[in-house]
């Protein structure tokens, strides 16, 4: 009997949706817009995170050593620095490696290469390239490196990249704040629209509801079609947003690849990997919002 009633409730619910097709279309459209803004916010988040990571990746501290420094001394200095808790990675670039790297960087610049040849000897110095565990530790690490008293250190390049990072993080935070605000507006609008859609549905079905109650339909049976409609709205909304948003991501991906050349960013892959997580949660949240809106409208506009 329960299964039979359940199928009848779904049937009544679908009938309601088709009889008020324009109301259904408007409700689903608003839901899709709300979901689009939420997914857009997520995409922006991923892009800014990639941008920040790519810049973070470029930040390091260079310790330039004297050309005459012996290999033993350099390696013992390297071992000392790598023992610092702030150090994530330390690379030793020898004079020869530095020269090779320089040549390959300027292989299309004959004047530079000619100048280098005329010098006759390798003018570059060996270097220790140090990366900290995180951005906050660079100041601490720089202070520590400044204290090292070693006669093989020629110069210390401690550029302050922290300012750039904090600027980028600031911008991304603002983008997120605007995104959250836009999403909240759309969610609020969709709650109101769903609420009104169900209110109108109850109004147009008041005679049917009255008759259902008169002939002994349970409250559950009267209310359920409207609740089911709320879930169906959410389902259709999420299916549409999957189609629309994937198309949007496919168009966006080539531009991102050009913009972040050299860094791996695959927004489509990110959404595909987290498909169930992203769209599952969106469906559940949309369905809960719709059900709550239905309950409120039913409680207020239908004495059942």
């Amino acid at each position: 009997m329960f299964i039979l009633s359940f199928f009848r409730v779904i049937k009544f619910s679908l009938q309601d949706m088709f009889r008020n097709i324009w109301l259904t279309v408007v409700t689903i459209t608003i839901l899709v817009l709300a979901l689009f803004s939420v997914n857009m916010l997520l995409t922006l988040n991923i892009i800014t995170r990639t941008a920040i990571n790519s810049i973070k990746d470029k930040i390091d501290i260079n310790l330039y050593l004297k050309p005459t420094a012996s290999e033993d001394k350099i390696l013992s200095l390297k071992a000392e620095i790598s023992g610092y808790s702030q150090v994530k990675k330390i690379d030793y670039i020898s004079k020869a490696e530095a020269l090779e790297s320089f040549k390959s960087k300027h292989q299309n610049d004959p004047e530079v290469l000619e100048a280098l040849r005329q010098l006759g000897e390798n003018p570059l110095t060996p270097t220790l390239v140090i990366k900290a565990n995180n951005l906050e530790q660079y100041n601490e690490l720089a202070a520590k490196l400044n204290k090292i008293k070693s006669d093989i250190i020629e110069s210390r390049n401690f550029d302050n990249h922290k300012l750039i990072i904090s600027k980028i993080e600031n911008i991304s935070r603002k983008i997120n704040e605007v995104g959250i605000f836009v999403s909240l507006v759309f969610i609020a609008v969709s709650i109101l629209v769903v609420y009104n859609a169900i209110k109108v549905a109850i109004y147009t079905h008041r005679r049917e509801i009255g008759i259902m109650k008169l002939v002994g339909a349970s409250n559950w049976f009267v209310k359920s079609p409207f609740l089911i409609s709320g879930i169906i709205y959410a389902l259709i909304g999420v299916v549409l947003i999957v189609v629309i948003f994937y198309a949007f991501l496919m168009l966006l991906q080539p531009y991102l690849e050009v913009f972040f050349s050299g860094y791996s960013i695959d927004i489509v892959l990110y959404f595909s990997k987290n498909f169930i997580y992203i769209f599952g949660i969106e469906f559940i949240v949309a369905a809960i919002i719709n059900i709550l809106a239905s309950f409120t409208a039913l409680g207020r506009y239908s004495k059942v």
Binding site: L4, I211, F221
Partner: protein
Amino acid sequence: MIKFHNVSKIYRPDVKALNQVNLHIKPGEFVSVVGQSGTGKTTMIKTLIGEERADQGKIIVGGWDITNIKQPEIPFLRRQIGVIFQDFKLLNQKTLFENVSFALQVCGHTPKKIRNIVPQVLKIVGLEDKIHRYPKEVSGGEQQRAAIARALVHRPKILLADEPTGNLDSINAQEIIDLLLKINKFGTTIVLVTHNREIVNKLKRRVITIENGIIAKDQEGGKYVL
């Protein structure tokens, strides 16, 4: 079958729709309730189907004290009491068969049972040839018959008829009353709320007259006197 013990219903601020009403309707009776508009007749019907609550007193239907009936119990009460109204309350987009089926569908009956019962009930009310017609395609009398069929489909022990002939001409009205008498013969208790003097006088059954929320007269074989 129906008992009212000192039942009062007050609509705010101070309209006493029912005032200390005492009443006992026995199983199988055919009772007419008469009175001017706004005297409390419809309120009495509403309290019997749980649409309104009495402010004082006790209401018992078929041994069930429904005075303080809980919301989830109301559907079960309504499956035991059939109700028909002046405006028929049929769904125009459904056929007569579907209108009657609807009452069984919403209560979870199987399609097989619905296919068996509905034609039988429509036959009892004389609509076996018009089961696939829509309400707009049949006369007012036939629409009221369909409403009676829908009320009977749960096999209720009580049938409440609130002005069932109000929208009908005298011939159709008499046909509906004849149908109610026929249903009463099967043992169903009938409570007929009406303004139709001719019908009440012709019935020669028990007549309860309500005036300003109180029972002014209660006579066996009574007449319509206001």
